[in-house]
């Protein structure tokens, strides 16, 4: 028989992975709910999921390739852009949505027990749908330009995984923080907006490495997405492999992930009291 111990003395109870896995149906239902609601009562429905990125891509392409003329060393700009935009779009979606997710689900949090991590993770799952759409557009563009990905494309799943973990970790941190400090509701969109420019989405990371002093480059690569986008371009476009700086990004991802989950589990027990 299941036995539940409620103990005031114990403040941290591990990751609760088993419980999280037991809640997979809830996780699935919440993600599906968000998907359903997003396009409910719209005329063209899911088509918006394609139309939105298509417009964004077109605008960025026109502005940065034609008007500003960003140099990408011979790679067609559209292909170059999408290798950066796909992981970034996923990252910003998850950070924006899971950051406020616990506050958004406060009615549930106050009335029902379940592992709270399900909430931000279900937002990441929703983001995967958009991510897939971006990747499809990316592969169509590669085909149009007859670009055959090089052998290191086998590492792409690794970078996708890192992308998911990075987005989720930041999302988990912010969802836990924004409960107590609602200021984050305003900080998150600003940071995401700024992040678009301090991440090598619309320009090559090499311009930063070559253009900035060494110490500034170190700071630049504290951004977890910088290394990941370098990886994407290396896998798909045979761009230079992730620089030694990229390992800073990868280290940061691991750090944010571990600390985020730990922090979240610590505040999980007071969530319903302070929300």
């Amino acid at each position: 028989m299941a036995k539940i111990i409620i103990d005031s003395g114990k403040k941290f109870r591990g990751l609760g992975l088993r419980e999280l896995i037991a809640s997979r149906d809830l996780f699935y239902t919440l993600a599906w709910r968000d998907f359903k609601i997003r396009y409910s009562q719209t005329f063209i429905g899911v088509l918006w999921g394609v139309l939105q990125p298509a417009v964004q891509i077109t605008v960025l392409w026109l502005v940065f390739s034609h008007f500003i003329g960003v140099q990408t060393g011979g790679t067609p700009y559209l292909a170059f852009l999408l290798c950066g935009l796909s992981p970034w779009a996923f990252f910003s979606f998850v950070v924006n949505n899971s950051g406020n997710s616990i506050i958004g689900a406060q009615d549930m949090v106050k009335k029902v027990y379940f592992p709270r991590l399900v909430i931000p993770i279900s937002k990441a799952a929703l983001g995967l749908i958009d991510f897939t759409i971006y990747l499809c557009i990316l592969f169509v563009i590669l085909a149009v330009y007859h670009i055959v990905p090089p052998g290191q494309v086998i590492f792409l799943p690794l970078f996708i995984l890192m992308n998911v973990i990075a987005a989720l970790s930041v999302g988990i941190w912010l969802s836990a923080l924004s409960i107590r400090y609602r200021d984050f509701q305003f900080i998150i969109p600003i940071v995401v907006q700024l992040g678009f420019y301090v991440t090598p989405v619309i320009y090559p990371a090499e311009r930063v490495i070559n253009g900035l002093p060494k110490w500034a480059t170190y700071i630049y690569f504290l951004n977890p997405m910088a290394g990941i986008i370098q990886g994407f371009r290396w896998c798909l476009l045979d761009a230079p492999p992730p620089s030694e700086y990229a390992y800073i990004s990868f280290g940061i991802i691991a750090l944010i992930f571990a600390s985020g989950v730990y922090f979240f589990r610590r505040v999980e027990y007071v969530m319903s009291d302070i929300i």
């Binding site: 239902t29 549930m108 007071v270």
Partner: protein
């Protein structure tokens, strides 16, 4: 491992809230906190040192006034909030129902919400699929399952939500005041369903202000007052204890200082009196004897609309026995002169139809739109044994809660 017959074991359980810091903070407060000494916070103990055990199969009513800690106790046992001290051990799978329809989304259809709400309450999707037909049947809204619930009436909404909850199959069920919603017919259906659940050997923890629901459903009770455990035992004793504790001081019929009241205060009850029909004060009523209630009030804000009064008489088990109001008289509501500063209404009750006992009276005044003043447990109304039927006989209290005289004729052929 031997099967334990204890379902819930609670030891020294306390829950403290810090007033003023209950809500979310802001970054400014965080920085202010770093640079200034920690300000003294007011503490509030919602639960204080509770220790008790609940056996498998017991249906326990948790009874107490608002603020006694009932909901906090359920929240702690549901693992929604963490206790400040102490521990609890729960043997079995728990489902808690602190609200009906948690997570219901207005944009989704009835069918989709069954799955959403079900998984939030801890069911798996396959479990819901298996019970789906039963849930639909119970809800009685089968025709509207493909309609978004935003188009539902509130009654349909509650039915659907409760239908999902009623099909939870935990070993331990924790229920908070959820029956307060919905029409009475459906409430009965839900109580019936819960009764079924309890017969199947499950342990239930049930909070309600409806003492007759508690009495009919539970076999054990826990009485809480200001976060402390006052008494644990058979439900009858607990409810009686609770009702007695609610009473005002018997002889004090002055209502000026009653703080536990609702309403905007345009009119306020100041005191009440009991007299015979000659206007001579009496201590108690008597079965079969006429009595008058005098309700004195002050007027703080004159009412342009007609004013409505009501007097409710409630028995020891919190059952409303009599409800007398201006609505149910030939003359109706009172038009009160704008210049009046205070006044009284006199209610004549011919031949009090109540068996001997101690009742409490509940007072209410409004303009049928806004509540001016409402006092529950405004005082005791003691009824002495009297000769209601004019022949010296009384009725076994098990057979009737009120008296009604009748005339009988015999027709034979």
């Amino acid at each position: 491992m031997p099967m334990s017959d204890v379902a819930i074991k609670v030891e020294n359980l306390s829950k403290k809230y810090e007033l003023g810091t209950l809500g979310a903070g802001s970054l400014r407060e965080l920085f202010a906190g770093i640079f200034s000494s920690k300000k003294a916070r007011e503490e509030f103990w919602a639960l204080r040192d509770l220790t008790f055990e609940i056996k498998q199969g017991d249906i326990v009513g948790v009874v107490g006034k608002n603020g006694a800690g009932k909901s906090t106790l359920l929240k702690v046992l549901s693992r929604i909030t963490q206790p400040t001290t102490g521990r609890a051990e729960i043997n079995g799978r728990v489902s808690s129902l602190l609200e009906v329809g948690t997570g219901f989304n207005p944009e989704l259809t009835g069918k989709e919400n069954i799955f959403l709400n079900g998984t939030i309450l801890g069911m798996t999707r396959s479990e819901i699929a298996r019970k789906y037909d039963e849930i639909v049947e119970f809800s009685g809204v089968a025709r509207f399952l493909d309609t978004p619930v935003k188009h539902y009436s509130s009654g349909m909404y509650v039915r659907l939500a409760f239908a999902v909850a009623a099909h939870l199959e935990p070993e331990i069920l924790i229920i908070d005041e959820v029956l307060a919603v919905g029409d009475s017919e459906f409430q009965q259906k839900c109580l019936g369903k819960m009764g079924e659940v309890s017969k199947s050997g499950r342990t239930i923890l049930f909070v309600s202000h409806n003492m007759s629901a508690v009495m009919s459903l539970c076999n054990k009770g826990i009485l809480l007052r200001q976060g402390q455990l006052i008494e644990q035992g058979p439900i009858g004793n607990i409810v009686t204890h609770y009702m007695h504790a609610n009473r005002n001081d018997t002889h004090d019929k002055n209502l000026v200082n009653v703080s536990n009241r609702n309403g905007n205060g345009n009119f306020r009850f100041t005191k009440w009196e009991l007299t015979d029909t000659e206007g001579m004060p009496v201590e108690n009523g008597m079965s079969g004897r006429d009595v008058q209630f005098h309700l004195y009030f002050e007027i703080n804000e004159p009412s342009v609309r007609p004013v409505h009064f009501s007097l409710r008489i409630v028995d020891d088990f919190d059952r409303s026995i009599l409800h007398m109001s201006t609505t149910h008289t030939p003359t109706g509501e009172f038009k009160i002169p704008a210049a009046a500063k205070s006044g009284k209404v006199v209610i004549t009750v011919p031949r009090v139809p109540l068996p001997a006992g101690i009742y409490s009276i509940h007072l209410f005044v409004s303009d049928l739109n806004v509540v001016f003043d409402e006092i529950n447990f405004a005082g005791d109304f003691k009824v002495e044994e009297g000769d209601y039927f004019g022949n010296g006989k009384t009725i076994d209290p098990k057979l009737a809660v009120v008296y009604q005289s009748s005339s009988w004729q015999l027709v034979t052929q």
